[in-house]
Amino acid sequence: MSGTAAYARPLVAPAPSPTIHPHIEIVTTREQRRARPKLAYAVVTIMSLFAIFAAQLLLSIVVSQGAFQIEALQQEQKELLRTQDALSENLNLYGSTQNLATQAAHLGMVPNPAPLTLNMDTGAVYGSPGTADPMGCGGNCNLITNSLLTGMPLVDAAGATTGNAVAPVVAPAAASQTDTAPSTTNVLPAPVTR
């Protein structure tokens, strides 16, 4: 017997061989490549953001512009109301009984001291016609004074003012900024009386 033990072939550890690690990378599939975010998207997003900001800015400019316009219009309304007040102050003054009486007297009108009354039912006329005092109340027709009328211009028959005109509360020039001449096509026909 050979009895020789067989020696097992020594196990040799494999000598470390200079291995070159291969460069491995995941190859993206076409789908993956397609799904990858592109620069364009970012650009679009940022551009839209800018667009939104710009729009908002413009909108706020427009809004505040509108607010300024409202403010300006309110201011104008305030001024117009103020002018209206001043004009109605003048109107009240021009319409005062004393002014009308003075203007009428200036035009040569005198009060009728003997008014006649006509009864519409019977046709009867009451009263006897008299002659008016050419002076009108002996020239004393306007005893009831009105200090606001001092210097009020007198209007003659042709409609022109005479006398020392006091400046009215609103100078006509100051009042008319956007005035247009009143339409004459729609006026009521009025008889011309003399």
Partner: protein, 577 residues
Amino acid sequence: MRTRSSRARISLAVLVVFAIVSVFVVRLVDIQVVRADEFNAASLDKRGKTITTYGVRGDIIDTHGAVLADSVLRYDITASPRVALLPQDAAVSVPAQLAEIAAITKQDPAAMYAEITSDPTSDFMYLVKGVTLDVFEQIDALDVSWIYPERKSARSYPNGEIAGNLVGFIGTDGPQAGLELSQDECLASDNGSVTYEKGEDGTALPGSEVVTEQSKNGGTLRLTVDRDLQFYVQQRMEQTALELGATWATAVVIRVADGHLMSVADWPTLDPNNVDDASRDALGSRAFSTPYEPGSTMKALTAASLVDSGAVSPEDGVVVPYSLEQPDGSSIHDAFYHDTQNLTLAGALVESSNVAVAQFTDRLPAPKRHDYMAAFGLGQYTEVDFNGESAGQLPDADQWFGRTNYAVQYGQGMSATSVQMASVFQTIGNKGVRMPVTLVEGCEHSDGTTTGVPAADGRQVLSESAAGQTVAMMEQVANKSGSASKLQIPGYRTAVKSGTAEVAVDGGYSDNSVVISYAGVAPADNPQYAVVVTAGIPDRVFSGLIAPTWRDVMAQTLTTFRVPPSASPAPDLPVNW
């Protein structure tokens, strides 16, 4: 890999972050919630500006809407001498700017400059007060940096003296007289305020206005008075007073149906635009405030009381001597000497006989006669409650001794205002129903509501028949008395009573100081208006002098209100028996 230590670090970080956030939250709540009001106020102080918005005082208008008093805008131009005198561009000099302003306001620039330099440290002075809008606009256009216009509301009375005594006026301390004072509750306005945020340049940021208090305009006070009639009546009374040399004159026109005063005229009167020029006794309304002994116009009331009580009828008669001796030794006599007459009650009015009225008076006990006078409103304030109104004097019946017992029946020993007398004739004209005397129709607010509408409940003082008989007796006066020719209004029947009352001077009556008056209604067949005209202390002592005034005022009233003429002729009652 998470280790214990990394977990601890994370916890610590979270804790720190949480602590910091907590601090911020606490601070946030403190600022935004706890002290929010305080900070808001403080920030508004910095950014915000509060301006006053002005409510406008209401107008006073006549019954047709003619404006008797309105609120107008005026500007006070104030200046800061301190700012004015700061060194500035050579191009703008203060004297040159002042010259420009003075040219607009027609002032003396030298005086203005002197005033500015008198206190160079002052920050406030008035350059000119109360300029109108166009003057303000011209000054504003000069762009002077050191002037500060202040807007203010002023009062304008476009009709001047017309109803000036009624409307009253406003002084620097507010309403001073007349309806401006007594109706202030209606007319007064409330100012409001608006807060806005100002930008860097001081202009208001759009949309930042907050109305913190709404301003409120005053109500419009509508009177019963008719402006044009008032003008005529005042004019006629002034003419009368000047013609008669009277010291005062009043006239009242009252609508019979509802007691509305269509005109209350006083002379002297005032122009509310120019109160400084008015005499002191013209600041109120004499027709309301100054009672006088009315004299014989009271005989109409006496006759009405006697007829209503059934004690006397218009055709009952008495024998009338010129003078009648009284049990106490005094005597009553008539104004003019006459032979003994047989007068009816109507005749007693036509002749205005004191002696006849005294004899008729005996047929009705004094307390009853007093009750009639009180029922007519004598001795009491009228419903108008005018500023400074007098109730007149009506002594109690138990004080009517001797002659006074009769004198009160012909308007001496008692007193009444012109308005009270007008109310008496309104009652007689209105079939015996006394209507509340009314001067204000109501207070009209901007929301369309009207407040202060006076009561319109009448009071039956006389029977309709007694009132009618009294009017018929007064028609005899208009047609048969000595002044009849001055009392005719063509087409209309009139019914009047004259009065010449002696004025008490130094405890006695004076023959030369009298109050003359006429009072009556028209048209007599259907009375529409009552008119009382009165002149105090005329040169001559004769009531007939004021008869044409009564006629003219009544004629103008009938014309103004287009009253239809009388349809039937006047009744003819016997004067003598």
